[in-house]
Structure formats: C-alpha cells, structure tokens
C-alpha cells in the first residue's frame, strides 16, 4: 500500500489518488457520523459532504505530523456540529436504525429490550460534549487505542485515558438523569 504522505501529495492533482484516500476512510468517517447523528439518511448526507469538502480543500492541505484521518474527522466534527445547530433538522432516531443494532439471534421480546437499551445508551451518549462522544465512538466502535485516539484529536495518550474515565462518569450521570441507570 502506498505511503499516506505520497498518496496525499498525489491526490492534490490526481483524482484517482483521491479515490484511494476515499476508499481508505469512508467507512470510518461514515461510522463516526452515524453514531453522532443516529440515522443513516443524515449520515449518508454528511459523509458525502465531508468528502466533497476534503476534495475541494485538499490542494491546501499541509501535512503537519497528524494523520490524514484527523483532518477528515475534524471536517466531520464541524459538519455534525452545524447539523445539530440546525434545530429544524433535529429529530428522533428512526426505529429501523435501532432495529439494525439489536443482536440478530435474539427473540422478538429480547430484540425489543435490546433496542430500548441501545436507544437509551446511545441517546445519552449524544447528550455528552462532542469530544467525549468522539472518544467512546473511536474507542468502542473503531476499536482504537488511547494513543491512536490521541493522535486523531490532538491530545496525549494520558489525557485520553483520564477523559475516558470522566466520560463514563458523565454518561452514567446522564443515564441516572434519564432514569435509565
């Protein structure tokens, strides 16, 4: 696989190289956005915007030691923030998206219970500050280590470690507030 730095430089002039970067990151960016907004329709829309924006700005992108993914996550983070600011678009998580999360081997009543638990937990997570949501999504959904998360959001490994602890405390408080803990 071509080194990322070379691929990025090539992507500034070559559409095929940008296509390769897209293939490398589309799943991760989509996953992150999905858990931030809670439904596929908006995740598709926002993920597309992330890559169109990246394409439009890649010529000005400068490598400063942070991974390319950090730049994409930052674009995604800003677009998700704008999305949430747009009150008109705020809505409940569609049921079909929750059903997709439930474990397939469970029976109907178990599925209902699991869906409810997933809904409660994920909604509580979305009430946390953006950075804390990012930490748990990257940790549990992407399976990244504290060091990898630190590189992506520009913090030290130790900072992520303690932020993770504080995030769990905040999440628990949010669940208690909602009567779900």
């Amino acid at each position: 696989m071509e080194a990322e730095e070379q691929l990025i430089e090539r992507a500034k002039r070559d559409a095929t190289a940008f296509g390769e970067l897209y293939e490398r990151y589309v799943d991760r960016i989509y996953n992150y956005i999905y858990y931030r907004v809670g439904n596929h329709a908006d995740a598709e829309d926002l993920a597309a915007r992330v890559f169109y924006r990246a394409l439009g700005n890649i010529a000005r992108y400068k490598q400063r030691g942070a991974p390319f993914a950090a730049w994409l996550y930052r674009i995604a983070h800003n677009l998700v923030a704008n999305f949430h600011r747009d009150a008109a678009r705020r809505r409940e998580v569609p049921l079909d998206d929750i059903v997709a999360v439930a474990e397939k081997r469970a029976g109907p009543s178990q599925i209902a219970e699991q869906n409810e638990d997933a809904r409660v937990v994920l909604e509580a997570m979305r009430a946390l500050p953006a950075e804390r949501q990012q930490i748990v999504i990257l940790k549990f959904s992407e399976g990244l280590s504290n060091a990898e998360i630190g590189k992506l959001i520009g913090r030290s490994e130790g900072a992520i470690k303690s932020l993770y602890h504080r995030t769990l405390i905040a999440l628990r408080a949010e669940l208690v507030k909602r009567g779900a803990e």
Partner: protein, 129 residues
C-alpha cells in the same frame, strides 16, 4: 481506591472489551468496598457501550455512488485548474488604473510648477524693465 487507579482499571477493561474478552471481575473484587459499587457500575456501562457501538458501514451502493460523484467533481476540478493555468495572462486592471492615476497626478503637479515658474520669470522680467 484512588481516581488514577480507577482510570487504569477502566482503561484495562476497555482494552479487554475491544479484544473480545469479557471483563474480569477481579478488579472489582480487589477494589476497596467504598469504590466497588462505582467501579462495578462504570465497568457495566462500558460493556453496554461496547455492545451497542457496533461498527456501522455504509451500503455498497452508497459507497459506489459517492465515489462516482467525487471522481466527477475531481475531473471538473482538474479541468478548471488546467484552464486557469493555461489562460493567457490578462493585465491587472487595478495596477493599470493606479499607474494611470499616479501619472495624471504627476502631470498636474508638473503643470502647476511650470505655470508658477513661468509667472515668476515673467514678474522678474517685468521688474527688470
């Protein structure tokens, strides 16, 4: 149990969850009684998060559609760049207007100075007469 210690235990548990192992209760049992309830609650919560934050991927149709759209946009971008780079250089109107204004001002000043000089010469000649 200090807060730092609890942070370590929770991070260790997160690594175990990511590795597919179920969380060990050893840490909870070893914790002092006053910290046991909190540690246990946070560990259970972490396990719930891990359970529900399953990776979600876009559909292959969406991926392909977006890729095609990006290729098209990149193509337009390349064409635009090529056009801009090969376009003959047009004079920059701002500079031209500025230079013209400066030239006119210099001309007017020269004219005024010349007129003054002429008047002065005329008055000197008149007084000499």
């Amino acid at each position: 149990m200090s807060s730092n210690m609890m942070t370590e235990v929770l991070n260790l548990q997160a690594n175990q969850l990511n590795a597919g192992a179920s969380a060990s209760l050893e840490a909870v049992l070893n914790a002092p009684p006053e910290a046991r309830a909190e540690l246990s609650a946070l560990m259970k919560l972490a396990a719930r998060m891990k359970r529900w934050l399953i990776p979600v991927r876009p559909s292959s149709a969406y991926r392909a559609r977006l890729r095609d759209g990006l290729q098209l946009a990149a193509g337009h971008q390349e064409t635009h760049r090529a056009l801009v780079e090969t376009r003959p250089r047009v004079p920059q109107w701002g500079w031209l207007i500025g230079a013209a204004a400066l030239g006119s001002a210099a001309g007017i000043i020269a004219m005024i100075l010349r007129r003054r000089q002429t008047r002065k010469d005329a008055s000197v000649a008149e007084s000499a007469r």
